[in-house]
């Protein structure tokens, strides 16, 4: 009897224990699940913070303060009597602008006050006037109202007014701030769309700095990369997938490709510096060398994705073609390759997106130069968009932070566009067998 009661007792205990344990096990289950959700949330939060941070910092750079001034193209101040190339090069447009500023604010009298006054407009403003006069020679001796780009300190101050009533002063004195507020109240200072940002090269003055040169540099570099890496990558993939016998040599090639895909990009930069620049003496800072280095870097990506695309073509296609008497080469080039092309193109676009965002190897081959002129070919000195971002990120002016973020926004939009088109291409053209 005692035995039985004991067993009963134990059964009850067992049940209790099981329920206790079950509760704790379910609790653990919930915690585990919660951790999973937290991880996903962390990842998404990182994306959200990153993008809002960049956009909130950079959206301001797409507008730029400009000041409306009545400018008199006075022959005496300009020091010219006719409009031709030579006289335009010598003409004193700065004087004309200073004249106009003094006229607008006659109260500035002392030297330091005048200096403050003159620093309202950008040092690039005289070029705007020169371009206007060159286009309309009849303006000489006339007066007209023009919008001139404001200095970056003015711009920063104006933009910071929306954050706080005081605004970010920096080097701006009280008097200058007063002038600026006066101009804003009368509508003579407005924020206008910043075309300079898209039409100019780099500059030491933030208000004159643009991404055009860097964009063209990126374009040339990518063209070189695409022209080299796509044919070579596809050819390599065809050989490895369709021809290569299974032997040591093929294994070696495959190990190499997989390894190169994981080699740090900066090492490719060292290769470019030692071989392309020091050994073959190709020009430094040129898109040609940048493209070569990026070709080596993106080749593994393209080879791997092209092989996957070739693998996805069913063997029945090959067998049918061979059955009709096609040679091996004809099978590949007439039948397999066209079917694999969408997949290969997708891989190529992703590889190009990777190359477009790459910075480190290009620093090694001297593409960090200060480039004002828009490059016209693949051997001109140039920089690329990511490197331009890197250079601007180092600049102390507040206005450059804004421009850096704006350049990042441009870069990210291009990348998103490329990736989206890759996804679209895959969806549209990919065939399931």
């Amino acid at each position: 009897m005692t035995d039985l009661s004991q067993t009963k007792l134990t059964q009850q205990q067992v049940r209790e224990r099981i329920e206790q344990r079950l509760a704790s096990r379910h609790r653990k289950e919930k915690i585990f699940r919660g951790l999973g959700i937290a991880s996903i949330a962390f990842g998404m939060l990182a994306v959200l913070v990153l993008f809002t941070d960049i956009i909130s910092k950079g959206s301001g750079a797409f507008v730029q303060s400009a000041i409306e001034l009545r400018v008199h193209y006075d022959e005496q101040v300009l020091g010219i009597d006719k409009v031709d190339d030579e006289s335009l090069a010598w003409a004193n447009f700065t004087g004309v602008i200073r004249e106009a500023l003094r006229e607008r604010f006659p109260e500035a009298s002392s030297r330091s006050e005048k200096r403050e006054l003159y620093s309202l407009v950008s040092t690039g403003a005289p070029f705007t006037l020169r371009d206007r006069l060159e286009a309309n020679p009849e303006l000489l001796g006339q007066t007209e109202t023009v919008w001139l780009t404001a200095d970056d300190d003015v711009d920063t101050f104006v933009k910071s007014l929306s954050d706080s009533a005081e605004g970010f002063r920096g080097r701006t004195s009280d008097q200058k701030a007063g002038w600026i507020e006066q101009l804003m109240a009368s509508g003579e200072l407005k924020k206008r769309f910043n075309t300079t940002f898209f039409t100019n090269g780099d500059s030491r003055e933030p208000e004159q700095a643009g991404i055009r040169a860097a964009l063209m540099g990126s374009l040339f570099t990518l063209l070189v990369t695409l022209a080299l890496s796509f044919p070579i990558g596809v050819a390599a993939a065809i050989y490895l997938e369709e021809y290569a016998p299974k032997n040591r040599w093929t294994d070696l090639i495959e190990v190499n490709i997989n390894n190169l895909a994981a080699v740090p990009s900066i090492v490719f930069g060292l290769l470019g510096l030692a071989i392309f620049i020091n050994f073959f003496e190709l020009p430094r800072s040129a898109p040609l060398v940048g493209g070569l280095v990026l070709t080596l870097m993106t080749l593994p990506t393209i080879i791997i994705s092209s092989r996957a695309a070739l693998k996805a073509v069913p063997p029945s296609i090959r067998e049918a073609a061979m059955g009709m008497g096609a040679s091996r080469m004809q099978v590949v080039f007439h039948h397999v390759l066209p079917l694999a092309m969408p997949g290969m193109l997708t891989g190529a676009i992703i590889g190009m997106a990777q190359a477009l965002g790459e910075t480190a190897p290009l620093l090694m081959i001297g593409m960090v130069a200060f480039i004002v002129d828009v490059p016209g070919g693949i051997t001109d000195p140039s920089t690329v968009l990511p490197v331009q971002i890197f250079l601007w990120a180092d600049s102390p002016e507040r206005a450059f932070v804004e421009r850096t973020s704006a350049a990042i926004m441009v870069l990210l939009s291009v990348l998103i566009l490329m990736n989206a088109s890759a996804v679209l291409l895959r969806k549209k053209l990919e065939r399931r067998w």
Binding site: H26, K28, E29, F32, R33, L35, G36, I37, S39, I40, F42, G43, M44, A46, V47, L50, K57, I232, G233, A235, A236, Y239, L240, Y243, I253, N256, N259, L260, A262, V263, P264, I266, L270, L271, L273, A274, N278, F280, E281, L296, L299, S327, M329, A353, L356, G357, T359, A360, L363, M364, P386, I389, F390, A393, T404, I408, L411, L412, L415, N419
Partner: protein
């Protein structure tokens, strides 16, 4: 003749060769009774002729262009009687000669430079004429020879396919050439570096300050090349990154693979993958301007002293960058675990998390380890984030709030800007590059091996 014109001319010749070969074959077919009397289709005869016409000439031209500058330079420099001893001095002199030859040199050139410039112009023009003549003769000669040798029995297709196959093999070998190129470029410069600085000092020295004396009599700037602070700095930043990336990446992969509904999966996966597509320079900017000040302020409010270029900021952002890498690799291996294992565990009454922790993860462990190793090699080689957000001072510290420097940062700072190619300072960058290449190579090799073994297990 200018090189582009020469290329255009060669291209034209190739087209003509194709046309001739093609029409020859068509004509032969007409006289002998139909295409089936030919051994190959007419287009292959065209290609055959075009290949013979163009390929040798283009190869010759390519080799010529690759080496002519170096040969001309050697010839010109040999002709100069008293040239400077240093490589930098010789470079300067040669640049002067080139500038004078191109017609834009400011100031007065010495008679020696003038003579060299004249010789340079003469050699360069000679080289250009010779290269044009040789490649054109080669193209026309071989093209004509192939046309003359035409016969309907010629197996043109097989010959063309043989050449194409050779081209394919050459392209496939590009990967090997790249690896060899990387090894040679870092190895040679590193060996030169180790002649100046003993390898033991480089590997075990505790002090890094790569300044070299500009003058021999300068005081206190002999330079120290002990790379240990760089190695520890790299390890610390990578460790912080892995501390963020591995748990988050692994847990999100588990959640997406085992728990998430299809809708959540199709939304969350691409969003997290966005992190993988963001360029590293953007992360660097984010780390330097947003995360680092935030961490500094946070530390200050907690009464701690934090550098504005803390290892923590760089590591944290690098971790965020690596999350999608870890998660997609883990996702692959978790999905490769056979469903029967899960069903078995669930059937024995284990909860979902127990199934994951006691069955799925152990089964997928080799693959996960391989993925983590690949992620570590990524973190070690990452450059832009640390260049922008970690410091330059080589501190030997274990405090993540202090500024540290890494191998990649030093490579960039040593090589960006003006450089002399014979100073240990520049060569040190290549020695660091060699270390970086070797360590990532070993990590990748182990990781790929582990992943491959694991795949075979369940295939």
């Amino acid at each position: 003749m200018q090189t582009p014109t020469l290329f255009a001319l060669l291209l034209l010749l190739i087209l003509v060769a194709y046309g001739t070969g093609f029409s020859r074959a068509v004509a032969a077919a007409r006289t002998s009774g139909g295409l089936r009397k030919l051994a190959s289709l007419p287009s292959y005869y065209g290609l055959h002729t075009a290949l013979w016409c163009g390929l040798p000439a283009l190869l010759l031209l390519g080799t010529w262009l690759a080496f002519d500058d170096a040969i001309i330079r050697a010839l010109v420099m040999n002709g100069i009687a008293d040239k400077p001893d240093t490589i930098a001095g010789q470079n300067l002199l040669y640049a002067q000669v080139q500038n004078l030859a191109a017609g834009h040199l400011f100031g007065e050139a010495s008679p020696q430079v003038q003579a060299a410039a004249a010789r340079f112009t003469e050699l360069r023009n000679g080289s250009r004429n010779l290269q044009a003549a040789l490649s054109l003769i080669l193209a026309i000669g071989l093209g004509a020879f192939t046309v003359l040798r035409f016969s309907p029995q010629l197996r043109a297709r097989e010959k063309v396919e043989k050449v194409l196959r050779g081209v394919l093999i050459a392209c496939a070998c590009a990967a090997i050439f790249t690896t060899v190129g990387i090894l040679l470029s870092v190895l040679f410069e590193s060996l030169r570096f180790f002649q100046a600085v003993p390898i033991t000092e480089f590997l075990f020295g505790l002090h890094w300050s790569p300044q070299m004396a500009l003058r021999a009599d300068q005081v206190g700037s002999s330079g120290a090349f002990g790379a240990v602070p760089l190695f520890t700095g790299t390890l610390m930043v990578s460790a912080i990154a892995m501390f963020v990336a591995v748990p988050v990446g692994l847990m999100s992969a588990i959640y997406l693979a085992e728990y998430a509904s299809k809708r959540v999966r199709t939304f969350a996966k691409p969003v997290i993958e966005i992190l993988a597509g963001v360029p590293t320079v953007v992360y660097g900017f984010f780390a330097a301007l947003t995360v680092a000040p935030f961490i500094r302020d946070l530390a200050t409010s907690m009464g701690l002293q934090a550098s504005s270029e803390s290892a923590l900021a760089a590591g944290l952002v690098m971790g965020i960058m690596i999350i999608p890498f870890v998660s997609s690799l883990s996702d692959d291996v978790i999905n490769a675990v056979p469903q029967s294992l899960r069903d078995g565990a669930l059937g024995l009454g284990s909860t979902k998390s127990e199934t994951v922790r006691k069955v799925v993860i152990p089964a997928a462990l080799p693959g996960i380890v391989g993925g983590v190793l690949l992620a570590v090699s990524r973190a070690i080689g990452e450059t832009m984030i640390v260049v922008m957000a970690a410091g330059l001072a080589a501190n030997l510290t274990t405090n993540p709030l202090e500024s540290v420097t890494t191998v990649t940062v030093q490579i960039v700072t040593l090589l960006v800007g003006d450089q002399e190619f014979d100073s240990p300072k520049t060569l040190a960058a290549f020695a660091l590059g060699l270390m970086l290449f070797l360590s990532t190579l070993v990590l990748n090799f182990i990781a790929l091996h582990v992943v491959k073994k694991y795949r075979e297990q369940y295939d």
